[in-house]
Symmetry: C2
Subunit: 335 residues, 2 copies
């Protein structure tokens, strides 16, 4: 396959290249695209040394698969050009996620939705991590209400976000100074920022609404009740989520654990006697989402559980899921 990675120098773009290599995706030719700032840079990849190119809309490259880790605006402007030029496009931005004619896919949940599509949207990172854990619970117990509080890493704002956190922490710890901020709305070191993406008229942020809207679409449950509080926390690259669900059928922690343990993409980490539970420290760099801290809900009784999930934001939350979508496509992508 001729594969192009767009936004190849960003945090997600770098992971895309790595994941393609790690998973043995059948790449025959790899082309890397980024902004003019990076043009000409040589990069070592699992597929040999590559030179960063600048995309020319007048001459879209001949690709079988295009993986986009760029802004929504860029995707809106160019994704369909790439499709027209013969590529199947997996877009990591929010540009097309809610379009009726574009499937939004977490392969463990709704791989079938990608069938035959030539433009597929990769979900919001928090949502992808949540969906793999919700799917087995929906299948067995039915979901009525989902309440999520997130603990989102700096990586959600890309390499610049991670850099700003590290630089700021050094300033605070070594010089007793104040962390500067430009990526985040406020300094993130030693702080929590309950503000990710823009505020909507209903008082939720767009990030919080993405969890509601995208979870419904991925799970095929347009009326599912989902409420989210999204909070940026001073960690580097794994997102965590405290989740409370109310179910249609009775549920026990034991039954929930069994469902999670058997679910693809989920690693049950729930041995509290040995202090084993999901954490960024253990989930970072891993493909599986960790789920644990499963217990009977104290507000929904035998129709609810509380649990905790942690997933690598750059992997299941972005690059891994995009490559899994490509893997799930049933046929060779283009002539």
């Amino acid at each position: 396959m001729r594969v192009g990675v767009f936004g190849a120098t960003g945090a997600v773009g770098k992971e895309l290249v790595q994941v393609l290599g790690d998973r043995g995706y059948p790449v025959t030719e790899l082309r890397l695209f980024a902004s003019t700032r990076s043009a000409g840079t040589r990069i070592t990849t699992p597929f040999g040394e590559k030179t960063i190119e600048v995309y020319d809309p007048a001459k879209p490259p001949r690709l079988d698969l295009a993986l986009l880790a760029v802004s929504g605006d860029w995707s809106k402007a160019h994704a369909k050009e790439l499709v027209a030029a013969g590529a199947v496009v997996v877009d990591n931005s929010s540009a097309f996620r809610l379009d009726d004619d574009v499937p939004l896919v977490v392969p463990e949940v709704n791989a079938g939705a990608a069938k035959g599509a030539r433009l597929i949207a990769n979900p919001n990172c928090t949502t992808a991590i949540l969906a793999v854990a919700l799917a087995p619970l929906q299948a067995e117990f039915g979901l009525k209400r989902v309440i999520v509080s997130t603990y989102q890493a700096a990586s959600g704002a890309g390499a610049e976000g991670m850099e700003e956190l590290e630089t700021g922490l050094k300033e605070v710890l070594l010089n007793g100074g104040t962390a500067k901020n430009s990526v985040f709305r406020h300094p993130l070191p030693m702080n929590l920022i309950p503000h990710i993406d823009s505020f909507q008229p209903n008082g939720y942020t767009r990030e919080e609404m993405k969890v509601t809207w995208e979870t419904r679409k991925i799970m095929g449950l347009p009326d599912l009740l989902v409420s989210c509080t999204a909070v940026r926390v001073p960690t580097l690259r794994a997102h965590a989520e405290a989740v409370t669900i109310e179910t249609l059928k009775p549920i026990t922690p034991e039954a929930a654990r069994a469902a999670l343990a058997n679910a693809p993409g989920v690693k049950l980490v729930d041995d509290v006697a040995n202090a084993a539970y999901p954490m960024p420290l253990t989930a970072s760099g891993r493909y599986d989402v960790e789920a644990g801290r499963v217990r009977q809900s104290l507000v929904f009784g035998d129709h609810g559980i509380d649990f905790f999930v942690v997933g690598d934001q750059l992997l299941k939350g972005a690059a891994l899921n995009a490559v899994q979508i490509a893997e799930a496509l049933p046929v060779k992508l283009a002539a």
Copy 2:
């Protein structure tokens, strides 16, 4: 008043001394107690330089007010001796919080419960911060369900916890090493630990159950449905909580904001157009608990709201609340 602070060299103990000074508590004599390790240390306080003493159970000091920021075991062993020796005791540990004959007090919520008592329990830090925000909502709308996810600072584990976080961060950031841990069960830098206090048979931690048990007692609502996920995050000294409530009467964000704005001990910080919302950065070192991000619940409709609260763990979560309890006591404490 002759005031004794026990555990005076700890994070909470130091704040107790400071708060007594800042609020002009009528201290006529201040005595500071700590372990033998600190005995003889001279400390500058708002009441002059003081020498750390070691408590001798055989000769309890003559005090009007004893503020205890020590372990539950120490409190269990000695609090009643201090009462017998004439002091009113405000205990910051969990030793007596659930005893039927010991009031558990957040003055903005249930100051009356302290009346006439000579041993009063100061609540769990997360619970105290939550209770000041829940009380005005309960008064106006009635609470049915409360779902809380916490973001708890290192200070909840005392000065040693803060020190371990700072030292560990330096190691990670400067040497690319791995943070050591002894205070926390796992390294906290760049991590989240969903494990505070010990695990209970029902799978919740004791910290999480304290939020349930103590909220019920403080609010006088023994059947209130409260479920909590308590998570340690790499911040220094303010605890945050994402809260979803279901109410008995209909509630709107506007009405909830008005109730919070008028509530004692609460500062409404909810101007999202100007990126103003509760954060550790702004709530640290402040007496008031910040509440904001108020919006209609997407899972409970017109009978629920989501909101975010942040309070200084060492102040409203500990030292300030203890001094407020002392202030609320109606009469001179002892002869």
